[in-house]
């Protein structure tokens, strides 16, 4: 096994061991923290597909996170008040079933990613960063004033949604669910990275003109990567909403986009487990530094600067050295 393999295994062991210990020791909040980290990791695995493999620096991934959150919020809200959506025309019933909510979250965020990607991919470089940022702001302002679903107040869901065969209100069970989904997303990313599509996408990032001259459509490859990326981040949004039993426009804020990007870079861009390491580290710092000082963001900023300036390749890069086959 490579060094990176050892680091990844240690990470997985921690993500299994720590919550189990917390469950036995009766420390439910530790499980909640771990759940938060796993959900953030899932969102970042989504971004990593666009960012690491496709080279798409999206500063608007909060859009998909938020859409996933609102898919959960709106469906559960209608189930909670026992009144359907669009009562006059379609009369769609709400639902509290997680699988249905996830499916809707994935489809909606994929659709949004398709439209946003179609427009944003006309640009490159800084323009791409900024147009994705602008789309994020658009959604943010829209949801703030969208009074039907709480506007800035957001939507509160009193009881966590259900999953067949599980009691999701038990922290360890909900955690297991999130962890399984993260595993699925990691498996998907690993497959995609090695697939013919991944080969094309990887080359599109590095030498877009080459991809065209061998008869492949690199732009469309990036668009598909962006859509899959958005869908995964959207699923994470739905889980995050369920963790908090609450959604609000802050899920769309550009700070959220920045944080998802931080997870990826903190851990290591284009490393399979980079987003996981980044999210775990971020949540840990948030927890530990937040207890130490009111001004913990200063330390967070310093750590980030240190990573960018001195430890390119993120935490995994620091621990496992240069990636194989990647920069």
């Amino acid at each position: 096994m490579t060094r990176e393999g050892y680091v990844n295994s240690a990470l997985v062991a921690a993500l299994i061991g720590v919550p189990l210990w917390a469950h036995v020791a009766g420390e439910p909040f530790t499980i909640t923290l771990a759940t938060r980290a796993v959900i953030f990791a899932l969102a970042a695995v989504g971004l990593n597909l666009a960012l690491g493999l496709g080279g798409l620096v999206s500063l608007g991934h909060a859009v998909f996170f938020g859409i996933g959150g609102y898919a959960m919020g709106i469906l559960a809200y209608h189930a909670q008040i026992y009144s359907p959506m669009f009562p006059d025309t379609l009369a769609i019933e709400g639902t509290k079933s997680m699988p249905v909510i996830w499916l809707v979250a994935i489809l909606c965020s994929a659709l949004a990613a398709f439209v946003i990607g179609l427009l944003s991919l006309r640009t490159t470089g800084v323009y791409f960063i900024m147009i994705t940022l602008a789309f994020g702001q658009m959604f943010y302002y829209f949801t703030i004033s969208w009074s039907a679903y709480g506007g800035e107040d957001g939507l509160s869901i009193y009881i966590r949604n259900s999953f067949p065969g599980l009691n999701t209100l038990v922290p360890i069970q909900f955690y297991a669910l999130c962890f399984a989904l993260l595993g699925g997303a990691l498996w998907l990313s690993a497959r995609i990275a090695r697939s013919p599509f991944g080969l094309m996408l990887n080359a599109s990032r590095q030498v877009p003109h080459r991809v065209e001259t061998v008869g492949l459509n690199g732009q469309r490859a990036k668009l598909l990567a962006f859509v899959i990326s958005g869908a995964i981040t959207g699923l994470a949004g739905a889980l995050f909403a369920d963790l908090n039993r609450f959604v609000s426009p802050t899920m769309f804020s550009w700070h959220m986009s920045g944080e998802i990007m931080i997870f990826v870079i903190l851990g290591g861009v284009a490393r399979l487990f980079g987003p996981v390491a980044g999210a775990v580290l971020f949540v840990a710092m948030e927890h530990v530094l937040g207890d130490l000082s009111d001004y913990w963001h200063i330390y967070l900023g310093a750590v980030l600067l240190g990573i960018v300036l001195f430890a390119r390749g993120g935490v995994i890069g620091l621990l496992a050295g240069q990636a194989k086959g990647h920069d």
Binding site: Y127, I131, I265, H297, L304
Partner: protein, 306 residues
């Protein structure tokens, strides 16, 4: 809606636009010359406002406060350029985004640690307070007129600096060909520090000028920063002219959209929901505009096609 009101709103849009220009000019200059995307530009704006409020509180002089704000902006700019930014010129945009995002965290929380969480107070100078009557009977705040004048003066000065002076030639050369200016014997490190400090000073100036009519508080730079990004994307990144035109377009769209969209919706909706929907739409208007511009011209109005 009367003609006077429309003229007044156009003036308001103009005033907003020239202040945005001060922010956008620095951003676009820094990107054009060094190829750097600087998210921490809003922090320099905030620093300008805080220093201005402090100096005005100590000395009572608004002029001194503005000068101090520019100096503080320039100094903070030069400091981060020499310690952090300099290492980012040769990295990709991703690293730049992250590092300058980290700088925002440090500056915001640092400012809060130093100045506390309560908003500060910066008064408009007595000479410029109160309204003035313009031809046609328009009552307009004197200070806002002064802001328009100051903004236009800075724009003119910037144009002169870049078009007519030796350092301007170096800056323009830096935008086109980095090796060439090194070959010309220009110390490129000093030039970069100067350009960054210049941009930072403009941000500090904007913070001080706007701080006098708004609240001076932590986080005040971020909304302006995002608007400044919209400006330079519309105008074309790297182009001062684009920043100027983009700033006026954004200033006018934002101001006039907020006024006219609700009126427009009132034509076919009941007033209460028209004001609400109109307001929602106007808050999204500049982003829609930006998306439209990018679809039409992916490198902005005055951007270099790559």
């Amino acid at each position: 809606m009367s003609a006077i009101l429309i003229v007044e709103q156009v003036l308001n849009g103009l005033q907003f636009g020239v202040m945005l220009f001060l922010m956008a000019a620095g951003l676009t200059l820094i990107f054009g010359v060094m190829g750097l995307i600087n998210l921490a530009h809003g922090s320099l704006y905030m620093i300008g406002a805080f220093i201005a409020a402090t100096v005005a509180g100590l000395t009572g002089s608004f002029l001194l406060a503005v000068v101090a704000a520019m100096a503080a902006g320039a100094m903070a700019g030069a400091l981060i350029e020499m310690t952090v930014i300099r290492r980012l010129y040769h990295t990709d945009h991703l690293d730049q985004v992250l590092a300058t995002f980290a700088l925002i965290l440090i500056f915001s929380e640092g400012t809060r640690a130093l100045f506390g969480s309560f908003p500060l107070y910066l008064d408009t100078p007595a000479l410029l307070s109160g309204p003035v009557t313009l031809p046609g009977g328009i009552e307009y705040p004197r200070y806002r007129l002064a802001l328009i004048a100051a903004g236009l003066a800075v724009a003119l000065g910037l144009w002169l600096l870049i078009a007519k002076t030796r350092i301007g030639i170096q800056i323009r050369a830096g935008e086109n060909d980095r090796e060439m200016i090194a070959a010309l014997g220009v110390d490129i490190r000093t030039l970069y520090t100067f350009v960054f400090a210049l941009g930072a000073a403009l941000a500090g100036l904007a913070g001080a000028l706007v701080g006098a009519i708004q609240s001076v508080q932590v986080g005040m730079g971020e909304p302006v920063l995002i608007l400044a990004f919209v400006v330079i994307v519309i105008g074309g990144i790297g182009s001062i002219k684009g920043a100027f035109v983009g700033a006026l377009i954004v200033g006018l769209t934002d101001t006039l959209g907020g006024v006219f969209l609700p009126e427009l919706f009132k034509l076919f909706m009941e007033p209460a929901s028209a004001t609400q929907i109109g307001a929602s739409l106007s808050s999204m208007a500049i982003y829609l505009l930006m998306a439209a511009v990018l679809i039409w011209r992916p490198t902005g109005l005055f951007g270099v096609r790559t």
